[in-house]
């Protein structure tokens, strides 16, 4: 991608961000989006393995899961759900701002998305440190005393694997959004070229989508 092609393509609707192996911007955009969607399908199946394992163990040991989930704070879980939903909203507005060449708004919404992601991780940190303190840890590290129902360590194995993997995804998403933010400040995006904002948005919405399922399964067992 060289700036030399900038003037060469001026007038035919292509920007300097058209890579040489694509015919025009629309084709480049569709290809990038297809690649992201294929990746998102692999992500669904990655988390799917954990969800299936959770379903089986929950079905076989309902009492242990029921007792263990009382150690989770419904309020913190609900706050994180709302924070993540709002971050998805600000992300989609950043995509809209890029689509309509509103640079300042795009930067603002990306910063808001990053802030929401930060709040999510801070709440998660308080939740985790509370569980570390109480010895509510997975597998053989489970040291919580005074349980009346056996087997609660299983729930926490799934809790830490699923929320931990999700947390890593939030971190990666934040790095991606930060990169988009730097490029937005540089002024790369316009209605001509916004595919990086769009596909980062897709990834961020998937992170939200997964949390939408994790929240009721972990925090709201009844």
């Amino acid at each position: 991608m060289t700036t030399a092609t900038h003037t060469g393509h001026a007038g035919d609707g292509n920007s300097k961000f058209l890579q040489h192996h694509f015919r025009e911007m629309g084709q480049q955009f569709e290809a990038a989006k297809l690649g992201m969607w294929l990746f998102l399908v692999t992500e669904v199946l990655l988390f799917g393995g954990l969800f299936v394992g959770y379903g089986i163990m929950h079905a076989r040991h309902p009492e242990a899961f029921m007792a263990a989930h009382h150690h989770l704070d419904k309020v913190m879980g609900a706050v994180n759900t709302v924070v993540l939903l709002i971050s998805s909203f600000t992300m989609v507005l950043a995509v809209w701002a890029a689509q309509t060449s509103r640079r300042t708004l795009c930067i603002l919404f990306l910063i808001l998305t990053l802030l929401c992601a930060g709040v999510f991780l801070v709440v998660k940190y308080f939740e985790y440190s509370h569980k570390f303190h109480d010895g509510l840890l997975p597998g053989k590290y489970y040291t919580h005393q005074g349980d009346t129902v056996p087997g609660q360590f299983m729930f926490f194995s799934f809790y830490f694997m699923m929320t931990g993997l999700h947390g890593i995804h939030v971190l990666i998403g934040m790095i991606a959004i930060l990169w988009i933010l730097v490029r937005a400040i540089r002024g790369d995006f316009s209605s001509q070229y916004y595919s990086p904002v769009d596909i980062t948005g897709l990834y961020w919405h998937l992170v939200d989508l997964i949390w939408i399922y994790v929240f009721p399964l972990m925090y709201l067992i009844s």
């Binding site: 992300m91 209605s191 939200d208 399922y213 709201l220 009844s222």
Partner: protein, 132 residues
């Protein structure tokens, strides 16, 4: 996008309405967790989660205007469903092996002659011609 007609631009008003719907469904799912639907508790929770998921996928992820990628995403969900359902078949048809669960072995087929090998499908002695 004046250059290509296939890029739909949805405005902030629609997105705000979708966010409102998502927050409302979050309140409903928390409220529903205090109600008892018996064995349907998890089903109700997953149903509400799927409604929220559909809102996110259709509006925020633009699948509403993107049939091609919607098919790809649905294929992923299809394979997840196969993974889940076939695993549940296995789990639900498997019995914990305890001495009390074992069935007594079949000793004889009613009406079949003793001490002769029988065809398992018919219970008749081997060599007997098939019924026409």
């Amino acid at each position: 996008m004046s250059h290509s007609a296939e890029h739909h631009v949805t405005g902030p008003k629609t997105y705000a309405a979708v966010l409102g719907g998502l927050l409302l469904l979050t309140i409903i799912t928390v409220y529903a967790s205090y109600l008892d639907f018996g064995s349907m508790n998890t089903v109700v929770a997953l149903l509400i989660a799927s409604m929220k998921g559909a809102l996110v996928a259709l509006f925020f992820m633009h699948l509403r205007h993107d049939k091609f990628n919607a098919v790809i995403f649905l294929m992923g969900l299809l394979f997840l469903a196969i993974f889940l359902i076939w695993t549940l078949f296995d789990i639900n048809t498997r019995v914990t092996v305890l001495p009390t669960n074992l069935k007594a072995p079949v000793q004889a087929f009613p009406g079949a002659p003793l001490n002769k090998p029988v065809r398992p499908s018919t219970g008749q002695p081997v060599g007997t011609p098939h019924a026409q």
